[in-house]
Symmetry: C2
């Protein structure tokens, strides 16, 4: 079976899309027609996947939106991942795990074995020990937070950190450097928010043209899709653009799935315009 990175390279080329659809389905916003379903969240996810599987390079459910419903939520998460796999679409579990040693190993097994996710998001604050157990899964991929899309990223991620090398560098540059160093199994990747395209270019330069970057913050959070594509894309499978709410909450009416597909199509059309220009070297 192909690794996650190979799978998204292949899909980017075949379906001409780098769209990652975030499955952050909150029951408070469930479309009305699904309210009476035995498992509205699973029915909703399946409907979104049915409507977008040919447009989505991958799906990204966020653990929080399932953990909140306890054991039932975890079953829904597992079934959702399986359902995406039934269309051969890879899945990133967005959990931002950040722990060490035995605990990190248990998280890695939770994500990659119990839940069967292809990829996971991780938090770098505790350093390499929080990455190592995930890195051992050679066919999976770990996206490490570098520069996030939210306003309070400025609290720490952009602090200047001149150290032994006397270089004036924001913290997220140091994180990007470490991601590069740690990438001994060529299965690490980075998260850089769409709200800072210039910084995305910088991280792309640090990390070279092979490493995937997951880019949240387009859509509801205000990042500009075209700008981000030019800043971060470096060939097939190197940039994934996540959109969650704009797609999944496009409508709560009976035609919610069509509305989600319309939104996804708008993003993918922009992506395809870019990919054509990029491939032509414009």
């Amino acid at each position: 079976m192909a690794s996650f990175i190979e799978a998204i390279q292949e899909r980017t080329q075949r379906i001409q899309s780098v769209l990652c659809v975030g499955l952050d389905t909150s029951l408070a916003k469930t479309p009305d027609v699904l309210q009476s379903d035995a498992n509205p969240q699973l029915a909703w996810n399946r409907a979104i996947i049915d409507a977008t599987h040919d447009l989505a390079c991958c799906y990204k459910p966020n653990l929080a939106f399932y953990l909140i419903y306890g054991s039932e939520g975890l079953e829904t998460l597992k079934e959702t991942i399986r359902y995406a796999h039934s269309y051969n679409v890879p899945v990133i579990l967005d959990a931002k795990f950040g722990d060490i040693g035995h605990t990190a190993l248990h998280y890695a097994r939770s994500a990659f074995e119990a839940l069967e996710a292809d990829s996971v998001t991780l938090n770098p604050y505790m350093g390499e020990e929080s990455i190592a157990p995930f890195r051992k899964y050679s066919d999976r991929c770990s996206f490490i937070l570098c520069l996030t899309s939210n306003v309070s990223r400025l609290d720490f991620q952009t602090l200047n950190t001149p150290n032994d090398d006397l270089m004036e560098k924001p913290l997220f540059h140091r994180v990007a450097e470490k991601i590069g160093e740690w990438n001994t199994n060529r299965n690490l990747a980075a998260v850089v928010g769409a709200t800072a395209p210039e910084e995305l270019s910088q991280v792309r330069e640090f990390l070279g043209d092979e490493m995937p970057i997951l880019c949240p913050g387009v859509g509801a959070q205000g990042g500009d899709l075209e700008e981000v594509l030019w800043a971060g894309h470096a060939g097939p499978g190197t940039l994934l653009i996540n959109v969650s709410r704009t797609i999944i909450n496009a409508s709560a009416d009976p035609d919610f799935a069509e509305a989600s597909r319309r939104e996804a199509t708008m993003f993918v059309n922009q992506i395809r315009t870019f990919l054509t220009q990029y491939q032509e070297g414009v």
Copy 2:
């Protein structure tokens, strides 16, 4: 009902213990006599709680050790928290959540409502937005990672960060300052590892004498209990010393619970000697 911080203040004084027992029960190490139980992990946790509830100021299950068993694991976690509550012992859910906005809100509801934990651990990398939804639960408490006990804390947490204030400060000092700033509801706390007692003293000075500090790293990780108590304790409920494996994995024999109690008693005896000296102002 008392808030988490009031509860640990009261318990510290009443039972003369600041021991936090980490319930990181991995099925691979389940005592033999429990192997045939319908739910060995829950039976194990209950036995540990039965054997240590009068010695433990609080319990701290780590999410990873339950998530790995999927929906059944989450039920075990919930029942474990309930069982600790049946002895009126407060519980810290160690999850190191670090996400923003709606997602952080869903994690806060997962921890405090779905799982009924009294307290939670959080990761500061994404800044104040990842703390805000938790802070709104005024009777709960959020322990924010500041300086952790593992070796690769040195990757980022101790980087020098001279910024607009031109002060030479390691990143974890900036995190400690922000924890102080963010503590508008007086329900935030910090995590500082036992492996760096000098830095623990520094953080205690930054944060003043009221804020609780959770201190992992005594026992298996090599932190010195007495040194850490002198460095971080500032009165009832201000320092919690976590010990996990040394207590829960004390033995896999039929008398495992007694063995756990013996280990916990050794730590608590040291703590009581310290508390007596501290109260006498020695």
